[in-house]
């Protein structure tokens, strides 16, 4: 090897930089830069006085409401980017021109209506409390997580999860999304009325990862090109225009297969994506998704192997910790106690303060 070859090989190396990682680091940047101002303000408005005043109103409504019921119709139209303090329930970061209002607040329920724009929710749920966001007819129920809801054109709602789990209900089916997953759905006209949160829905939801059910009328083909177009704009799409287009088309097909309830076909397409575009940064999240799809088909060994491929592909990547935990759970589901124990032990060794610590401990015991 000469220096030209060394430079060429180094040039080909790319960080495993995906959308999840990008959002997480941006969040950390904002947390770091906002720190000095936090002591004096609950909100930060990038816009003008109007946004600031509106923000303050909502913070007051949510933050000091305690057990009282907030009247519907309190709106926040954002002019820049603002943070809403949701009292003990975390916060919401509003994008430009987004509109959120409180539909209902009781001791057992917090329901927000997002009418337009993009809002990032960082929710800390209190046990026994139901938190949901309705966006263009799609209901996103919160388990305790960080996620983003965007209302796109034609009534499509895009939900992207950064951490934890959410349940997306389009009126006909529910789909649970985990870390790194995103879906675009539109609301069904056959929606059942939203259950009364005070009428027996106080039990905390299980945080276990369950089989993925798919929504019928998802239209994720619109979603994938959206994020990939952003990548192209940054000049970082898969090398070569043709390859990039091929990857996009395949990802759109995968989303369509998942959206139309064909997980076995989606699994085959995911394998094809990994095989045909091995250097694409989305391979890591595709392997994670493959693990979840295999699990939904009750192929637990295949699921475990997919999660293992995911973390081995990016051992220090954004999904590595979750993938190791999911691998251990999948081995356990497959009845392979020896492998489950080994994987859980390895997780605990690597992440002694990890988010799945309790579940891994249970697998070992």
């Amino acid at each position: 090897m000469d220096t030209d070859e060394l430079a060429r090989r180094l040039r080909e190396q790319r960080a495993e930089w995906d959308d999840v990682r990008e959002r997480r680091v941006l969040n950390q940047v904002f947390e770091e830069t906002r720190r000095p101002r936090r002591a004096t303000a609950y909100w930060i408005a990038g816009g003008g006085i109007v946004a600031a005043a509106a923000c303050a109103l909502l913070v007051l409504a949510l933050g000091t409401g305690g057990d009282r019921t907030t009247e519907p119709g309190e709106d926040l139209t954002d002019q820049g980017t603002s943070i809403l303090d949701l009292g003990g329930n975390g916060r919401a970061v509003l994008g430009t021109d987004s509109l959120v209002s409180i539909a209902r607040r009781t001791p057992n329920a917090l329901e927000l209506d997002q009418t337009r724009g993009t809002v990032r929710y960082e929710i800390e749920r209190v046990a026994g409390q139901r938190i949901s966001i309705e966006a263009a007819g799609v209901v996103v129920s919160v388990v305790g997580t960080v996620f983003e809801v965007a209302i796109l054109e034609d009534g499509l709602v895009r939900v992207a999860v950064e951490r934890g789990f959410v349940e997306v209900d389009d009126g006909r089916r529910k789909v649970e999304l985990g870390r790194g997953e995103a879906i675009a759905v539109s609301a069904s006209t056959e929606r059942e009325p939203i259950a009364d949160a005070d009428a027996g829905e106080d039990e905390p939801r299980s945080e276990e990862v369950t089989a993925i059910t798919e929504v019928d009328d998802a239209a994720p083909a619109r979603d994938r090109p959206r994020s990939a177009k952003a990548n192209d704009a940054k000049g970082t799409a898969a090398p070569g225009g043709g390859a990039a287009d091929g990857a996009l088309a395949l990802l759109a097909e995968i989303d369509a297969a998942r959206g139309s309830g064909r997980p076995a076909y989606a699994a085959r397409l995911l394998e094809r994506f990994v095989r045909e575009f091995p250097k694409d940064p989305r391979v890591v999240s595709s392997l994670f998704t493959l693990g979840k799809v295999e699990r939904s088909l009750a192929h637990h060994e295949k699921a475990a192997l997919s999660f293992k491929r995911c973390w081995r592909r990016a051992p220090r990547g954004a999904l590595a910790e979750d993938a190791r935990a999911e691998e251990a759970i999948s081995w356990s589901n497959a009845g392979r106690a020896d492998r489950a124990t080994r994987a859980a032990g390895e997780y605990l060794r690597l992440y002694p303060d990890g988010t799945h610590q309790a579940r891994m401990q249970r697998l070992i015991e």
Partner: protein, 180 residues
């Protein structure tokens, strides 16, 4: 509701807005350049686990410095300059860690996808053997394709020094690569 329209806002406008505290503008700057900065940091250091911190440090420093930025049209080179300085600090530390990992890897079984990690480690093991002051300009010039002036701006050394150091790096690497 009016349909959203994609409008490309130029860097100078974003810098001006972000400098006044518009976080949406800052987020746009981040979305435009974070992936590129992550790539530069990765190729300079060879350690994926350091990339998050380096990107974060770069954009935190940028957030604090945007209001004082003299030439907003030079946003990308300015971000690279910050990233290079942050990366330089990490290189020595990472080189020591990589040496330890390489020793473990020699006695450990190899399998599957982990080969990617080993390959990049091997490439950076070579770079670890030349001093940082030679390594950084060589990577910026030969790997990132930056001009001598750009490398000089990013690393804070004169063009003459950069030229000399790239040549030194080239010579040392050639000697080492003879054995590969």
């Amino acid at each position: 509701m009016a349909k959203p329209q994609a409008v490309e806002i130029d860097d100078a406008t974003l810098v001006e807005r972000a400098g006044r505290g518009d976080e949406q503008a800052f987020a746009q700057i981040y979305c435009r350049y974070a992936r590129y900065i992550a790539g530069v940091a990765f190729r300079l250091t060879g350690d994926d686990s350091a990339v998050d911190d380096l990107v974060q440090e770069t954009f935190v420093a940028a957030h604090r410095g945007l209001a004082k930025m003299r030439d907003p049209e030079q946003l990308r080179p300015w971000l690279v300059t910050i990233a290079v300085r942050r990366s330089r600090r990490h290189i020595g530390k990472l080189a020591r860690a990589r040496k330890g990992r390489a020793e473990i890897a020699r006695s450990a079984p190899r399998a599957g996808d982990a080969r990617d990690t080993e390959r990049i480690d091997e490439l950076h093991e070579v770079l670890d053997r030349i001093p940082t002051k030679y390594r950084v300009p060589w990577v910026l010039s030969r790997v990132e394709g930056m001009t001598l002036n750009e490398v000089a701006d990013a690393s804070g050394w004169s063009v003459a020094t950069i030229k000399r150091r790239i040549a030194q790096a080239e010579q040392r690497l050639k000697r080492m690569l003879d054995g590969y």
